[in-house]
Symmetry: C2
């Protein structure tokens, strides 16, 4: 049974005045309105949220979603968490419930309010997504974990420091530039990779060598929401329908030291299995929104997608393939790097961005004639991995 998206909403991303609660309600209301579905017809609510406890002293967030509409009272609502992939995890829970017949219409909301803490607090709260006793508790931060990937990649393929720094700057420049077309993005900036390389050290300090500030995604508030139903029902209700043709979730060991630091092994499996389930190859994709939490992650995502052989992902940035207007634009929204990364919302954000692209109503750059798109969302240092293929089916 197919499951399709029939309503979406995406808040602005950035340092927002809205509280966690306001973001949740705003996104939920917006998606219901866009779907044209009455609240009383919603059979369940799935909330993707990484750490309401850590950022906002609020665990047990899901019941607050009843505030979206009085008709939602008594409806099942649950929070689903897999670090920065919590939004995709919420979609998976809702999709299973629809496919099981338990629910006809599901509301999925991804939300995070991170700017409530200072940088130190955010860094600590995010580090709880690592394997705490051996990583977070020993002072390993997420920039530190992805620095391991950058070093692993450099060492495995023999790049110089300069080569590595340049390829990473190209990812950042592409995504900041893409964000300039996205009215909801946090850090729009039309720039070249030279602009980034030329930033003085005080503006682009080393955060965890070799990663600098401009290699890191943003600390963000934001929410995104979707209404899902069966494709059959969606076809009756809507003129245009976007289906989730595949959703594959894989898990790898929580601690990075137990796995490769130069590729996304579980992510690769998720993506290739998703292609198979959707009956496509990478050549069929019209765009992708991928998890560029750090610039190195986007290059590893290219390789996980099979868009380039291992060790050659960086060449796509020179060939223009992944740019808007190229063969396969990656992160046309600006990605986590420049659109922003409200962590628990990100999977839902990617899904909304993908659906809107395929409806021809993109948030930001419209990839013309887009029919098939991929989202690739990871949690922790890529322990949790979700690959979704979205297709325009009507």
């Amino acid at each position: 049974m197919g499951v399709s998206v029939i309503g979406t909403y995406h808040t602005k991303v950035g340092r927002l005045d809205d509280s966690l609660y306001e973001l949740l309600v705003k996104a939920g209301k917006g998606a219901l309105e866009d779907a044209g579905v009455e609240a009383k017809d919603i059979g369940g609510i799935w909330v993707g949220n990484y750490s309401g406890g850590g950022f906002n002293n609020q665990e047990h967030l899901a019941p607050y979603a009843l505030e979206i509409d009085p008709e939602l009272r008594f409806i099942p609502a649950v929070r689903v968490e897999n670090a920065c992939a919590s939004g995709s995890a919420a979609i998976e829970g809702a999709k299973n419930a629809i496919e099981s017949g338990e629910v006809d219409f599901a509301l999925v909301i991804g939300v995070e309010k991170m700017t409530s803490l200072d940088t130190k607090g955010v860094t600590k709260t995010l580090a709880m997504a690592s394997f705490w006793p051996e990583e977070g508790a020993k002072g390993v931060t997420f920039p530190g974990l992805f620095a391991e990937y950058a070093k692993g990649y450099k060492d495995r393929y023999g790049f110089s420091d300069e080569e590595l720094r340049t390829m990473l700057a190209k990812v950042a420049a592409k995504n900041h530039t893409n964000a300039a077309a996205n009215p909801l993005a946090q850090r729009p900036w039309k720039c070249s990779y030279e602009d980034i390389l030329n930033l003085p050290d005080e503006k682009n300090p080393v955060i965890a060598a070799p990663l600098r500030l401009y290699d890191c995604s943003l600390v963000s508030d934001g929410a995104a929401a979707l209404v899902l139903t069966t494709t059959e029902r969606a076809r009756k209700l809507k003129d245009k329908v976007v289906e989730i043709s595949a959703l594959v979730h894989t898990t790898d060991y929580l601690a990075l030291k137990k796995r490769s630091n130069s590729e996304f092994e579980a992510g690769k499996r998720a993506i290739h299995r998703a292609y198979e389930m959707a009956g496509i190859t990478v050549d069929d994709l019209d765009f992708a929104e991928v998890h560029d939490c750090f610039t190195i992650a986007e290059i590893l995502a290219y390789e996980a997608m099979g868009l380039a052989p291992d060790g050659k992902g960086w060449t796509l940035l020179d060939d223009g393939i992944v740019e808007v207007g190229g063969k396969l634009p990656v992160n046309p929204s600006g990605g986590l790097k420049a659109k922003g990364h409200p962590v628990g919302a990100t999977g839902a954000s990617m899904a909304v961005l993908a659906a809107r692209q395929l409806l021809g109503d993109a948030i930001g750059h419209q990839v013309s004639g887009a029919e098939i798109g991929l989202t690739f969302n990871i949690g922790g240092s890529a322990a949790s991995n979700y690959a979704l293929v979205f297709k325009r089916v009507k």
Copy 2:
């Protein structure tokens, strides 16, 4: 499509030496072994955990479940959270996935490690399950929230302080006494309600008037796990089969002041809908494990079950109906009050206890000839509510 339990495991409950990680792995391994299912046949893992972040600095706990068995690598694993009902929420996620056909065998693990914090830390971490801005942040604790129920019940039905205190002591005495037969329980104590009433104030101080220490459930470490599959498959694999004949989840407003403080309105709906789905009435139940996080909650649960009219739940304690050997033993395990309440594990614990009763292999008191049982698990001040009916079907 029916979903059944084919393997269970329950750790000891209490102040344990085991870490969060050890409890998770021990329970998962135990349930797999009991099921006789190979790890490679598990299609997904659902981890119920309330606040690994708050108690243990560990969000993103689910991937750690791969440590149970190397064959689990790459299998989807996700954390599900609805406060003290997180264990039931994990069962719901797994059940939907089985019914959708996504997964043949699911591993569900509920786990919490609470004694890592001191009393103040535990109280604060639990308060994050309230509506933080208006409850937790203003100093309202969970004993405080359930004190509101106790006061609401007393006021609505006109009980004296002494009458209230006595009925609550009867719940505590029954559950402590039941726990004396449960080898895994945290606070076994064969006692009468007079023993509790006669405790000196320093041993049974007021925590949040009118609730005293002996009205409160325990701060616990513990884990419980289940392997689930379709009933059809379970019938082929096992000589005895326990089915989840109904699982109903309802949600009420997060903040207590927005709802009744003298009944579990959403819980009542969940339970009665579960009876309907399972094709039973309250008279068909052979036992129940209900959410006695505070003694008043057990009395409200009797009324939510329809075991007594509203305002008359307390009479069941005098009639012996809810005692072991009575018509409908409630919390034969000792309940949250005396077995213990490792919060995110509790829903899974109740399910394991129910399944084991129905298999004739009870943990603690065996209710002879038990064929149908209920579990009733709530999250927060009863914003999240789960009612499950378990039936012996083979």
